[in-house]
Structure formats: structure tokens, C-alpha cells
């Protein structure tokens, strides 16, 4: 482990992906504005060219340029992250600290794999958005076209800022830094959700998301201030040391509860999920996909940091963490609520939103199991914890492909008209066989059907929980197992319920006739189709050949401790 505390070339190398995103951000702001603009020295008539404004150069005037820049930026950043993950020698963590010794960032496998999740989701969303935002000829006098062209840059700038915020969350070693990153990402997504402010659903969804999100942030910040009051520092190390020394006090428990609320909103756990369906259905589909994958992973990351690093299980009677019961209830309620609500949803986007609530429940169940990791039955608690954490990481990673992919398919439909009714999907099997097949793959992967990635991830999570609950597996009766076993059973039952609404999409696509006026092939748009194809490939490939990725996730899980 090495420490950097000076801003120099070494630090730039360590924080490569983050600098890439930052540079990309600057480029999107500057490059489209390059032109033959001049600057008159006050009081004279001398005009100096300063290359901003005026008539823009032809090369930079294309309205598609910001989008392409964003795709390029995300691709390079993702490449850097993946390079780090695959480079065995870089597996040590590096800590960035300020002059007075406060640790700010920590670069290791664990944080980098989260960045891979964020950047992959944002890259796919950026590729898909290239077609989603209408652009027009640069010469057009139509005010709408002009307006749309101008908005291109805004959209991608927000995407990159959210990427930056998320990576700050991934790297943060200090609760306050983490909070700043969280807010940077959140505010970007609030605006992205409301980006279609012309539509009622867009502005309404954005507003609600913002309001409820602000409340959650405020509560979380309140919790943070209590934590500071309690420990005198917001460093993870300091907090963990304090927790280990003092154990739970009423102040720290109160703080913990408030902080949990802040993150629970991010992962849309019940009952803090209410704004999510509104936000998802109002947002642009790729943006909704980002909310359901990257944004959720960010919340999960915060939860893991707080719950697994600070409030480690103490050695009380049964060796479980103090929050096991709470999280167990939260997980059970969340997964059941999400699935039941999704059952009756007639709006595919709301359906996917509720399904993402259910998935949050599955993830919480896995976390609950970790909380019980060093209770009596498990001989080697550390290993068991690694298994579950790795399963969780794998789950969040592959979720990017099929959850985002499903949203992108809805995005294609949105380009033609709405995607707000189940019948919008009707006849897709005939209209666009390839897209329908991709959608079907995403659905069965979400439901957890082999050999899709979703099956493998769900299987790993369930197996991890069962292993924690039963220890060596040689139990005489189910009653001897830890109660988290029941969460695994509940997951299985919930998966069975979820089959119903996932497969219904297949029925609608293949057996229902298209709506009036929606026959024939869909609107063109090659880049969104490329993104869907990438998602489909990922869904199948990681299901069949997930071994390498699982290995990677295990290494990442190892580096958490």
C-alpha cells in the first residue's frame, strides 16, 4: 500500500480514469464552442482572436459532437479501469491523502470494480443516447431544432458529472468526501430525469425524484453530522476504530439509522422507493437504465462501506452485526413489495422500476447474510463473507447488461412513440425480431433462467446466503440454520413470482398483434441497437463464461478488508 499526497504525475497515473472523465468534461464544454470569435481590447479597436464563440468552425459544429466526445471519454475511462482490474501487479491499493494526513481516496480492486460498473452503464447509456435526442441540421432556423442541438452538450455534461460523482463515491475514504460525490452524482441525475421537461411525466417525475431525494440526502447529512459528533472524525478508519472501542451507543445508532435512510433511497429500498417508479417512467429510457444500475450500485457501495467497514459485527452473543435484523426485515419487505407491485403494472417502465426494487431486496438479503457471517456455524467467516460480497459484486455487474438493456429496448420504442403501455411492445417479435429476441433474453435473465447471466448471479447470491446460514451444510434440521436461510427461500419464492411479469413481456411481444398504426419496423437508430446488442452479448456471455468475472469479483471482495 502506498500513499500519495502531492499533486504530481504519480497521482494522475493513480487516478487515471477520474482525470479522463474530468478532461472529457472540459472538452465537451469547450470544443463545441470553438469558433472565430474575437476579443476587443477595451478602449482600442484592436480585436484579438480568442477562438471562442463567433461563427463556430465546421469541424466542431456538428450537434452530435458532444455525444461522441462523451462516448469516447467513457470508453477510455472504462478501458483504464478494466486495465487496472486485469493487471495483477496493480492490485495493491493506493491511498490519496491530503497534506494533513486525512485519507481521501483509496484505489483498490473493490473501488475499481464499482467504477467499472458505473462507467459500463454510462457508456452504454451514452451510446444509446446518440440516437435518442433529436438533432437537426445546423443551418435550420427552426427554433426547436436549434434548441435541441444546444441541449446535446447539456445532456452529456450531466452524464459525465454523474460519472465523476460516482467515481468519487467509489474511491472515498471519508464519509464527507463520499457525501460530496453522492450529491454530485445525485444532482446530475435529478436533472437528467427531468431532461424532457416539455413532457408532463418528465418534469413531474424529475420534481418528485428531486424532492424525495433531497429529503433523503438531508436525513443522511444529519446522520453524518451525528457521526462526526460521536467520533470527532468522518474517516472510515477512525469511525471503525471508535465503533470497535465503544460499540453501539444511542448516538451512534441514531446516526447509523439516518445514514441508512440516505443510502436506502439511492438503492430504492422499500419504503423509500416511492419516487423511483415515477422517476423511471418520466425519464429518458437510457437515463432510467442508469438509475436502475449505476445509481443503485452507488447506493449499495455506500451501504457496504458503512455496514461492512464501520459497523463490523461485534463479538456479542451470536456474533452477528447489530443491523442484521433491521436489514433482514428491509430485504424481505423490499423484494416482496417490488415483485407484488410489478405484477400488476401495465407500464413496462414502471414494471422495470418495481423489478429493480425487487433486485434491491435481493442485494439487501445478501448484505444481511454478511452481517451474520461470524456466527457459530461458519468455521471460516472471512471466506464466507468473501463469497457473498463477490456474489453481490457479480450481480451488480451483470445487472448492467440486462436491466439497462431492457430499458434500452423500451428506448427504441420511445423513439417511435410511447413505451408507457404494455401494448406498446405488442407484436415486437414480428416488427423487429432481433430486438424482440434481445428483450426476451433480458427478461429471462432478470427472472433468473439459465444459462443467462441473471441466473448465475442470482444463484451465487442464494448459494452464498445458504452457505452462511448452514455453515458446513451438515445440519440435521432446517431449524438449526441461521434465520437468514429463510431470506434465501423468500428470494426463490419471489423469483417464481417475478417469472409471471417477466414472461408476460414475452407473451405480449410474440403473441399479441401490434397496436393500430404501430406496424412495421421501428424507427431507425443504429447506435442504440449497437448498445442493445452489447447488452445481449454481455447477458449471454457472462452467463456462460462468468468464471473470469467471478474470479475478479472475489479478488475485489478480498481487497475490501
Amino acid at each position: 500500500m502506498s500513499t500519495e499526497n502531492e499533486f504530481d504525475a504519480d497521482m494522475i497515473e493513480t487516478l487515471g480514469p477520474e482525470f479522463t472523465v474530468f478532461v472529457g468534461l472540459l472538452l465537451i464544454m469547450i470544443v463545441p464552442n470553438l469558433g472565430n470569435g474575437t476579443f476587443r481590447i477595451p478602449g482600442t479597436s484592436i480585436r484579438l482572436p480568442w477562438f471562442l464563440g463567433g461563427t463556430r468552425y465546421k469541424a466542431v459544429a456538428s450537434p452530435r459532437l458532444p455525444g461522441l466526445l462523451a462516448v469516447l471519454t467513457m470508453a477510455v475511462a472504462l478501458f483504464q479501469v478494466v486495465w487496472y482490474l486485469l493487471d495483477a501487479s496493480a492490485a495493491d491499493s493506493k491511498i490519496i491523502s491530503s497534506e494533513n494526513g486525512i485519507e481521501i481516496f483509496k484505489v483498490n480492486m473493490f473501488s475499481r470494480i464499482f467504477e467499472a460498473i458505473f462507467f459500463a452503464a454510462l457508456l452504454l447509456a451514452a451510446i444509446a443516447s446518440l440516437d435518442r435526442l433529436p438533432t437537426g441540421s445546423q443551418k435550420s432556423d427552426d427554433i426547436d431544432v436549434l434548441f435541441n442541438n444546444r441541449r446535446q452538450a447539456d445532456f452529456y455534461i450531466l452524464m459525465l458529472t454523474s460519472a465523476l460523482g460516482m467515481s468519487v463515491v467509489a474511491l472515498a475514504q471519508d464519509m464527507f468526501v463520499l457525501f460530496v460525490g453522492l450529491e454530485l452524482a445525485s444532482f446530475s441525475t435529478y436533472v437528467l430525469v427531468a431532461f424532457h421537461k416539455e413532457t408532463r411525466a418528465g418534469s413531474e417525475g424529475g420534481a418528485k425524484y428531486f424532492i424525495v431525494g433531497s429529503v433523503a440526502s438531508a436525513v443522511g447529512l444529519y446522520g453524518l453530522s451525528m457521526l462526526y459528533l460521536w467520533a470527532g472524525s468522518l474517516q472510515f478508519d477512525a469511525l471503525a476504530a471508535k465503533w470497535a472501542a465503544d460499540g453501539a451507543s444511542s448516538l451512534s445508532m441514531m446516526a447509523l439509522g439516518f445514514v441508512l435512510v440516505g443510502f436506502a433511497f439511492k438503492i430504492s429500498a422499500a419504503p423509500f422507493h416511492f419516487a423511483a417508479p415515477d422517476a423511471y417512467s418520466g425519464a429518458n429510457s437510457p437515463v432510467a437504465g442508469v438509475l436502475a444500475t449505476a445509481s443503485k450500485a452507488m447506493g449499495m457501495l455506500g451501504l457496504m462501506r458503512v455496514l461492512l467497514l464501520i459497523t463490523v459485527p461485534d463479538a456479542d452473543a451470536d456474533g452477528s452485526a447489530i443491523w442484521v435484523g433491521l436489514l433482514g426485515v428491509l430485504a424481505a419487505v423490499t423484494m416482496t413489495w417490488g415483485n407484488i407491485a410489478a405484477l400488476g403494472s401495465e407500464n413496462p417502465k414502471r414494471m422495470l422500476a418495481y423489478s429493480s426494487v425487487a433486485h434491491a431486496g435481493y442485494m439487501l438479503a445478501a448484505l444481511t447474510a454478511i452481517g451474520a457471517w461470524n456466527w457459530g456455524l461458519v468455521d471460516n467467516g472471512g471466506d464466507a463473507m468473501d463469497v457473498v460480497v463477490a456474489a453481490l459484486l457479480f450481480h451488480m455487474f451483470v445487472l448492467v447488461f440486462f436491466k439497462l438493456g431492457a430499458f434500452l429496448v423500451l428506448g427504441v420504442l420511445e423513439m417511435e412513440g410511447g413505451a408507457s403501455r404494455l401494448s406498446s411492445l405488442a407484436g415486437l417479435g414480428k416488427r423487429e425480431p432481433l430486438i424482440a429476441v434481445a428483450m426476451f433474453l433480458f427478461m429471462i435473465s432478470l427472472a433468473g433462467v439459465p444459462p443467462m447471466a441473471g441466473f448465475l448471479s442470482k444463484l451465487l447470491v442464494i448459494m452464498g446466503i445458504v452457505e452462511v446460514a448452514t455453515g458446513t451444510g451438515s445440519l440435521s434440521a432446517i431449524g438449526d440454520a441461521h434465520w437468514v436461510w429463510w431470506l434465501a427461500l423468500l428470494m426463490v419464492i419471489n423469483s417464481a413470482i417475478s417469472m409471471f411479469y417477466y414472461l408476460r413481456i414475452g407473451v405480449v411481444m410474440y403473441f399479441h398483434e401490434p397496436e393500430e398504426g404501430r406496424e412495421g419496423a421501428l424507427a431507425s437508430g443504429s447506435s442504440i441497437r449497437v448498445a442493445i446488442a452489447l447488452c445481449a452479448i454481455g447477458t449471454v456471455a457472462f452467463g456462460l463464461y462468468g468464471g473470469e468475472l467471478i474470479e475478479l469479483c472475489r479478488n475485489a471482495a478480498d481487497s475490501l478488508q
Binding site: 424532492i211 444511542s250 441508512l260 433511497f265 416511492f274 433491521l326 407491485a341 445458504v466
Partner: protein, 744 residues
């Protein structure tokens, strides 16, 4: 119980490419189907590619050449058995370590003498039948524009058969076995618009399915015993020694039922005669040469269990059952063949009967293998049974193709005589009138008109009957002799032994009857007078197979040299083929043991003189005035005519007897089975349908509607007002504190 090591693993040489024997036809399947779909009806496609026939042919030739090279390599290596390692392996995630476990199951190739025999039979006949099909299918008028489907299913079938033979575990054997079952369903039902063909396909599928269910049960039991289905593991002596003999016998018995279904033996034989509804090349391929041998192959594969020292004497009951099933079927099928009028049906029953011979032979061989001190005889008996499989496949493939040739030319002659005036007439007309091109009552006197076909039919029949020096003679003598050899030790075996001896006479009768009714005598219809051979593709396989059948003594010699010495019982110090052949001659005709000496001549007498003599007396007759058959057939026709005149008797009493009626009704098996199906299966189906509708669907519908109701209630909580959302969140905070408070 994992790990074996009984088998030498070799991974260089031709065997490296052996997988292509299976893969080439399998890959040709989609290609032919796809091209046929695109170019359907295109003249180039029809004329130059023969609608896929000329795409399939090079593939099958390549498969055959590869098989031949592999066989040559195997014989050269003089290894008892060998296999090649694994090409593919499928892993599974280990729950505890989250690591990938390799080698859950793999694909490999296993080769021994049984494989080699079957591999040659399958690849050789598949190739010849492909040639025949080009002549037969592509001139069949009702096949317009869909022969690509035939060729596609044909190559897929071939890959199934070859894969089954080469598989290195019972699991893959079963997978390819089922692939064949599927293709046989498709091919039998090739004329699916004909209700009888659709019915026959369904019947074949369902009947073999009954056997397959038992086969699966047997395989599961075997897995339970050994923890694996790889030959490497289950044939390993150390592993077999640890197994309970009773359980093993039960498992093998279950698997034998699967073989009974596939090889159309009593009581699961009912599908084979109906399966003649398929095109004739299909009958030749599936119902004579390859698929029906799958069951025999499966039984032959069980040999190592019986030969194991620790199992000695424990499995003789199963060996007896195998032989007894064979004995029953041999006599029953031969009797039914007496009264069949349809050319192909006679051959179908003959197939059943001859396969039964092989089962009896295998039963005897397995009995000998399972009895200490008889191992040497076991190898000879086993060889005789497999050798009969070879001879029968060659002869029966040839007979079916020859019958196809007859039927084909009858069709054309019928077409020419009846539609001479209007040539523009629709071809499909053929099938709307009553003329039956397969009925022997419409034939007669074809010996002079179809010389190649008649010769092939003659040699094939002789081989099946076991006329001395021709094809099946060598192997049939072996089977009969070994059945009696066992009967002398174990009195139970008198039953199958007597059956096969009786069957020899019956075979002589029905095969002679078939030949005489078709080729001798005067033409019975106008159509039969206008028949002539015309398609160039059809005679090629007939000529080739005629020579193979005539020269089978060479293979008999090989059996005594290569086979026996490779399996550890050397008859000769060096593998000299001539020695082997001379030994075979001596052994058959001048057996030192008085009992077997007499037995041989009894068998020859009843099979080659009594049976054919009776047939000649009943059905013989000279050709039409002025027509002459080829010099090697003319004496037979003349003889039959003379016997018929001299000894001819009126058989109407027999023909009208109750037994004869029963035989025409196939001994009522089909009726009984149908009745049983209607009562039992349909009754049970109704009950289970009611259960499904009310209980299963009812439960699911209740769950569905209830959860929809709950869902509506739950979604009502999402009011759409941000104020309510925050209220709920606040409630959530309270709940969190309650729960955390409980903790402290």
C-alpha cells in the same frame, strides 16, 4: 466411484479427426436445409445438386473414408480397445469455493471391435443408401421440391448413428440414440400428408419411447452404481467388482428393454411393419441397416459386465431372457412373414426375425461369458452374433434397395401404361388410383426384366436364408451352434435353441416365397410386363453389396484371427487370413464334435432344402414364353417350375385357416395394444387432464388473481404525490429506529 483406467487413451493419428465422422453430417444438416429452403424449385438445384443429394453424398463419402482409415489404424494398432480424451468439457460452479469444476461430463471417442464392426456397417451403408436415394427419391413424382428435407434428415440421422457408435459413454450413446429416434420419426412420416404415414411415424415414435423410458431408468440405475456412465469407468474391472450383481442385472435388464424397443423385438415390435410407410431408402437405412442395430449394439456393449470374473454366474438369467426374447421373435416374425403380400412388409418381418437371431446369439454369448471356463466360446459366439449383424445389415440393406428398385419401376411402368395418352397429366394422379406397386400379387416374372435387381435380391435372400457359402450362412451356423452349445449346459436354453433352428426353415420358406412371387412365374398384371431398369443410380449399391455378401467368408476368417487374438484367445500364432478362412471351413463343415457335425447338416438341410422346396412347390413357375433370365437365375426358375408341377398342392385349406387369418392380422398384437391404449392411456389421460385443469390450473389461477389484487392494493400506496412519499419515508425512518432499538 470415479476414475477408471481400463482403457488405453491414444491421442494421435486418425483418431484425432474421428469426431469429424459425426460432425460432418451434423453440420451438413442445416446447410442442406437452408440451401433447399432458398433454392427450392430452382432448376440448377434440382438437376445439378439433386435437391441436396449431391451435397450429402460427398459428406457421407468423407465420413466413410475417415471411418475406414480409423478402422485400418485400429486393426494395425492391435489394441484391445482405445479411446481418445475429451474434446469438450462442461464445468459447474462449486458452491463452496466459487471455482469452476472442470470435467463434469465430456465428449470423447471409444473404439473396440464392436465399434469397428458397427462403424463400418453404418458408414458404408449410409453412403450406399445415399447413392440409392438419389436414384429413388429424385424421380419420385410426389416428392416435388421437398427432397432437401429428406437429405437433411438423412444426414442428421447418419450423424446420430455414427455418433452413437463412437460415443465413449452410455450418456452420449443415449443422446445420439434419441437423435436417431427423432430423425426416424421425421423420415417415416416423410409423406406426412398421407394419414397412414403420419400414423406410422407416431406409432414408431411412441413404441420406441416405451423402451427408451426403461433405458433411461436403466442408465440412472447404472449411474447410481458407478457414479459415472463413461465406459472408462463402468468397464473397469475394479469398479465392476464393487457392484452388487443383483442391482447390476436389474439395471442392464432395464437397458435391454430399451434395446427391445429400438430393435423391434417382441413385445415392442409393432412399429416396424408400419414404418414401411416411409420412402424405401428410409426403410433400407433405418429399418434394416442401421437404427434397428442400435439395440443390438447396446446389448453387445454390456459384454464387459458379463465377462467380468466377479460377476461369474450372476447374470445368466438376463442372458437367458435376451436369448428367449430373440427366440420368440424369430419364430413369430417368420410366421407372420409367411402370409404378407406386401414386398416391403415381408422384408420388415424378416428383419425382425433376423435381429432376433442376433439377440439369441448375443444371449448365448453373454451366457458363455458369464460362465467360468467358457470364455473362449464366448468370444466365438459373440463374434458370430456380431458377424450376423454385419451380414444381415449388408443383405437386408441390399434387399430393401432392390425392393425399392422393383417398386420404383412398377410405379413408372404403371404410370406409362395408364397415362400413355395424356402426358401432361398430373403426376400426383398415381396415388389416387388403387394400384398397389408394393403388392407381390401384381408382380411376377420380373427376373428377365430386371436382371441386376433380381440378382441382388437372389443373393440377399440366399444370405438371409443361410445358403452355404453365402453371407449369412457363416454367422447363422455360428448362432445356432452356440445356442445349442449353451442348451447342452443350461436346459432353459433349449427353448431359444429350438426356436432358431425352426426359424432357419421358416426363413428359407418366406424368403424363397418372396423371390419366387416377385421374379419367377408369369407376370400377374399388365404393369409387370412393362417393367424395366432405367435409373443409373439405383443399381450401383446393389452391385457393390452383392459382392460384399458373396465375399463374407473373408470376414469370417478375420473373426478367427484378429478378433479372437485381440481379445486374448489366440487361435493362431500369427494373424494369417487364409488360416482363419480354412479354419472356418473346417469348423463348419467338419466339426470334430459329432453333435455339432450333425447339427450343422440338419440346419443346412432344413434351411436350404426344406424351406425353399416348400416355397417352390407353392409359388414356383416358369417365366413367360420366350423370356430368359440370366444364366445364374434361369436354373432356379426352371427348378421351381418343375417342383411346382411335380409336388404342387393346393394350400387353400391352410390359407383359409384360423391361424393364417391370425397371422394376416399380425397375431392381433396391434389390436390388443390399441384397445389397451384406448382404455388405459386415454382413461388415465382424462383423469390427469381433469387434475391439471382443476387442481393445478385452479391453484395457479387463484394465486395469480389473488396476487393481482394484492398488487393493485400495493400500487395504490404509490399515490403520485411527493408529500405522501415523504410521509412513507418518515414512517420508514420510524420503523428503522424501532428495529434498531430492539437490537440495543
Amino acid at each position: 466411484m470415479a476414475g477408471g483406467g481400463a482403457i488405453t487413451t491414444i491421442d494421435s493419428g486418425i483418431i484425432e479427426y474421428a469426431i469429424f465422422i459425426v460432425l460432418l453430417p451434423m453440420l451438413a444438416f442445416p446447410i442442406i436445409l437452408f440451401l433447399g429452403h432458398i433454392f427450392n424449385g430452382n432448376q440448377t438445384w434440382v438437376k445439378s445438386a439433386k435437391e441436396g443429394g449431391l451435397i450429402a453424398l460427398p459428406i457421407m463419402v468423407a465420413s466413410f473414408v475417415l471411418s475406414l482409415l480409423l478402422i485400418v489404424e485400429f486393426i494395425g494398432a492391435s489394441q484391445g480397445e482405445y479411446s481418445i480424451g475429451t474434446w469438450l468439457s462442461f464445468g459447474w460452479i462449486d458452491a463452496n469455493t466459487m471455482e469452476i469444476d472442470d470435467m463434469a461430463f465430456g465428449v470423447g471417442i471409444y473404439i473396440d471391435h464392436v465399434t469397428v464392426m458397427l462403424l463400418f456397417v453404418a458408414s458404408f451403408l449410409c453412403m450406399l443408401i445415399n447413392i440409392f436415394s438419389i436414384g429413388y427419391m429424385n424421380t419420385d413424382p410426389i416428392n416435388d421440391n421437398r427432397n432437401h428435407r429428406f437429405y437433411a434428415e438423412f444426414v442428421l440421422f447418419c450423424s446420430g448413428m455414427l455418433g452413437m457408435v463412437l460415443a465413449d459413454s452410455f450418456l452420449w450413446l443415449f443422446i445420439f440414440w434419441e437423435l436417431m429416434g427423432l430423425c426416424s420419426y421425421l423420415l417415416i412420416g416423410f409423406y406426412y400428408e398421407k394419414p397412414s404415414a403420419a400414423y406410422a411415424a407416431k406409432k414408431a415414435f411412441l413404441t420406441t419411447r416405451i423402451g427408451d423410458v426403461f433405458l433411461v431408468i436403466g442408465l440412472v440405475m447404472l449411474w447410481n452404481l458407478f457414479g459415472s456412465l463413461d465406459y472408462d469407468v463402468v468397464f473397469y474391472e475394479g469398479n465392476i467388482a464393487k457392484v452388487d450383481p443383483g442391482e447390476l442385472q436389474l439395471a442392464l435388464g432395464m437397458m435391454f428393454i430399451g434395446a427391445v424397443g429400438k430393435s423391434a423385438q417382441f413385445p415392442l415390435h409393432v412399429w416396424l411393419p408400419d414404418a414401411m410407410e416411409g420412402p424405401t431408402p428410409v426403410s433400407a437405412l433405418i429399418h434394416a441397416a442401421t437404427m434397428v442395430n442400435a439395440g443390438l449394439y447396446l446389448v453387445a456393449r454390456m459384454f464387459p459386465f458379463f465377462a467380468n470374473g466377479d460377476m461369474a454366474g450372476e447374470l445368466v438369467d438376463l442372458a437367458f431372457i435376451i436369448a428367449a426374447i430373440g427366440g420368440i421373435t424369430a419364430v413369430m416374425a417368420a410366421a407372420i412373414a409367411f402370409v404378407q403380400d406386401d414386398l416391403k412388409k415381408v422384408l420388415a418381418y424378416s428383419t425382425m426375425s433376423q435381429l432376433a437371431y442376433i439377440f439369441t446369439g448375443l444371449g448365448a454369448a453373454l451366457w458363455l461369458a458369464n460362465t467360468p471356463g467358457k470364455e473362449k466360446y464366448a468370444i466365438v459366439a459373440f463374434g458370430a452374433a456380431l458377424f450376423h449383424l454385419f451380414n444381415h445389415a449388408m443383405a437386408k440393406g441390399m434387399l430393401f434397395m432392390a425392393s425399392g428398385s422393383v417398386i420404383h419401376e412398377m410405379h413408372h411402368a404403371h404410370h406409362d401404361t395408364h397415362h400413355h395418352d395424356d402426358h401432361g397429366d398430373d403426376h400426383h394422379d398415381d396415388h389416387h388410383d388403387d394400384f398397389d406397386a408394393q403388392s407381390m400379387s401384381n408382380m411376377g416374372g420380373l427376373a428377365s426384366k430386371m436382371p441386376i435387381t433380381a440378382t441382388a435380391m437372389l443373393v440377399g435372400s440366399a444370405s438371409i436364408m443361410g445358403l452355404p457359402f453365402i453371407g449369412g450362412f457363416w454367422s447363422k451356423e455360428g448362432i445356432i451352434a452356440n445356442a445349442w452349445r449353451v442348451a447342452l449346459e443350461d436346459p432353459r436354453f433349449f427353448f431359444p435353441a429350438a426356436c432358431v433352428l425352426l426359424g432357419a426353415a421358416m426363413t428359407g420358406f418366406y424368403m424363397s416365397r418372396m423371390w419366387l412371387k416377385t421374379f419367377a412365374g408369369k407376370p400377374k398384371t399388365e404393369v409387370a410386363e412393362h417393367v424395366h431398369e432405367q435409373t443409373p443410380w439405383i443399381p450401383i449399391p446393389l452391385v457393390v453389396l452383392t459382392f460384399v455378401s458373396l465375399s463374407s467368408v473373408i470376414l469370417a476368417g478375420m473373426m478367427f484371427t484378429h478378433w479372437s487374438s485381440d481379445t486374448g484367445y489366440a487361435f493362431f500364432s500369427d494373424k494369417n487370413l487364409i488360416d482363419g478362412m480354412i479354419y472356418e471351413f473346417e469348423h463348419v463343415f467338419l466339426n470334430p464334435d459329432a453333435f455339432f457335425f450333425v447339427l450343422t447338416y440338419v440346419a443346412i438341410f432344413i434351411g436350404a432344402i426344406v424351406g425353399p422346396g416348400l416355397a417352390m412347390a407353392l409359388y414356383g413357375g416358369s417365366l413367360k414364353e420366350g423370356e430368359k433370365a440370366k444364366p445364374w437365375m434361369q436354373p432356379i426358375v426352371n427348378l421351381s417350375s418343375r417342383v411346382n408341377k411335380k409336388r404342387g398342392f393346393d394350400n387353400s385349406a391352410w390359407a383359409n385357416s384360423g391361424l393364417s387369418d391370425a397371422l394376416r392380422e399380425r397375431l392381433y398384437f396391434d389390436k390388443w395394444y390399441d384397445a389397451a391404449m384406448l382404455k388405459l392411456v386415454v382413461g388415465f389421460a382424462n383423469i390427469s387432464a381433469a387434475f391439471d385443469r382443476n387442481v393445478v390450473d385452479g391453484t395457479i389461477k387463484t394465486i395469480e388473481s389473488t396476487s393481482q389484487k394484492i398488487s393493485t392494493q400495493v400500487r395504490r400506496l404509490t399515490t403520485g404525490s411527493a408529500r405522501d412519499y415523504i410521509m412513507m419515508a418518515a414512517l420508514g425512518v420510524l420503523v428503522i429506529y424501532l428495529l434498531l432499538g430492539v437490537m440495543i
